[in-house]
């Protein structure tokens, strides 16, 4: 197990390096630089000076190593679009709203989705199942900005219960969180349903019934345990993936989160911020896959015991 984890950590380091090189090259392959904007024209001379002061005139590999050397020391540089702070300071300011939005959305949506999926699987081919499936399909096919608009229309405009936008007092968080929660709710409902049905159709479930176990014990001890296995591998990465919030929901509700910076850092050739955001996401996914693989191994006796038939 220790060896396995060490191997995985090594592969994470490799992934991280490869991603950083590719992103760095792609970023600089896109034509244009940070000072090519039209709203603030600068003379070529000044542009060259600015580029030189930021090291943008050096060969790419020098820039890359310089940047990565900084990253290893938690120095992600300064965002061009907001030179008064460091990239880390900007993340520290803009990430919390996204984290709250994404985290609360998943914490609310995922358990509800799991319950909905379970109900659908246990009552398969009844109105419960059809209703749950219809709900999940709607949740996945209606774009989240349409859901957001509906919520704003009903709860902010007609009923006037909640603010239509902004990120002030916690009650202003309600609508964006609800809008965002529909995504994990729908996804988890669908996934839970199919994972449960998969197990319910296994021959061993018939054997459990034939032994005279109560239906409750069969579902809660045996079926859920086995359905959890494929679920952990998908759920944790999804869970962590949401820590960056939703660009669309943030835009609809004017949440001052990270979402806007994903777009602006690309448009404005804000290399330092772009790199930092992508590296951060890469790292979170790598770690979440690692954790879910460890969980999977712990839940699965086939891997845990390492044994073979004999």
């Amino acid at each position: 197990m220790i060896v396995y984890i060490l191997k995985r950590l090594a592969s994470i380091a490799l992934t991280f390096t490869v991603v950083s090189v590719i992103v760095f090259l792609m970023m600089h392959a896109v034509p244009g630089g940070p000072f090519d904007g039209n709203d603030m024209p600068v003379s070529d001379e000044v542009k060259a000076k600015l580029n030189a002061s930021l090291g943008l005139d050096r060969p790419l590999y020098v820039q890359y190593f310089k940047y990565m050397w900084g990253v290893l020391h938690f120095d992600f540089g300064v965002p061009f679009q907001s030179p008064g702070e460091t990239v880390l300071e900007l993340l520290g300011r803009a990430w919390p709203p996204s984290l709250i939005l994404g985290g609360a959305g998943v914490l609310i949506g995922a358990p509800l989705g799991i319950l909905l999926g379970m109900a659908a699987a246990l009552r398969r081919n009844t109105w419960v199942d059809y209703l749950a499936s219809a709900f999940a399909t709607l949740g996945l096919t209606i774009p989240v900005f349409v859901t957001s608009m509906l919520l704003i229309l009903v709860f902010a405009v007609w009923l006037d219960w909640l603010p239509a936008s902004g990120w002030g007092k916690p009650y202003s968080w309600v609508l964006p969180i609800v809008a965002y929660a529909t995504i994990p709710l729908a996804t988890y409902a669908r996934y839970t349903r199919s994972a449960m049905l998969d197990v319910l159709n296994k021959p061993f479930v018939t054997v459990l019934r034939a032994k005279g176990l109560s239906e409750r014990r069969i579902i809660f001890q045996h079926v859920l345990r086995n359905a959890a296995l494929p679920m952990v591998t998908v759920f944790l990465p999804m869970f962590i993936g949401t820590a960056t919030g939703s660009i669309f929901v943030e835009a609809m509700f004017r949440v001052p989160g990270l979402g806007a910076y994903f777009v602006s850092s690309i448009n404005l050739r804000d290399y330092a911020l772009e790199m930092a955001l992508i590296l951060m996401i890469t790292m979170m996914f790598c770690v979440s896959y690692l954790i879910s693989d460890i969980l999977y191994a712990l839940l699965n006796p086939r891997i845990r015991t390492g044994g073979r038939r004999g």
């Binding site: 032994k211 345990r225 044994g307 038939r309």
Partner: protein, 320 residues
Amino acid sequence: MRLLDVVNLTVSFVQHEGVVQAVRGMTLHLDAGESLGIVGESGSGKSVTCMAALRLLREPPAKIAADRLDLGGVDVLAARGRDLAALRGRVAAMIFQDPMTAFDPSFTIGHQIVETIQAHRATAKAQARAEAEALLRRVEIKNAGGVLDAYPHQLSGGMLQRAMIAMALSCQPQVLFADEPTTALDVTIQAQILQLIKELQAEMGMGLIMVTHDLGVVAETVDRVLVMYGGRAMEQGPVQKIFDAPLHPYTQALLASIPGRVAGRQRLVEIAGASPNPANPPKGCPFHPRCAVAEARCGVEAPAFQTVTAGRDAACWRLQ
């Protein structure tokens, strides 16, 4: 005492494409301590009959009806959740064809036997574990302690089938349904498992229903045999009598199609023609399209399954 009493059982599966009539008027019975073999080609409705007796089929799509379906004196069709759970494992236990998929892969063998014991009797865990270990030793597993803590994937098919038998017998059932318990096993192990089941049946005085498509198995393990075809009982009676003088043309064809059957261990060889399609069964006797001695009325109305001589029943117009 009559342990199992089934009269005119029909089981159909309602599907999008239509209705599959898996069992069409089965009649069978089993007395305490008796052993009955159910033989028939694959698809004749043997498994569905057994599953229906324990109400193990999902309803819907399955639809079960019967004039009588009593197990251990309880009307199975009228029983609901809790009553059914009390019957299963305790009054009647079942072992299945494929031991490799019969255990929950996430729990040890010990856990799964212990939970069976605890489902039916208030037993302390340590006590149940000790009983489980004794059961595993009884089914001739040498390393009983080790198998108790093993996960299913760590054991061979033969070992798992032994463990399955131990689990089925853990609550001293009055009837054991064995649905082709050796079909998925190595030939060398098949005889051992059959011998074990036979021994345990005698020892515990329980009733046995041995489902098989292997006439050799029937000859070796049971007192009485019931021949199924197209979801119906064709003939039933004492093994020796049926082997010596089969009454029904299907049984006759079945026995004739086995070269050197006295040597035993021969699989059924297909009789000319196709077995009936349960989605569209023939009118009348299901065997008439393949029957060498069929008459006009055989294709019109199905003959009743009725007594021909004492202890022997058959469904054939020529015998009525």
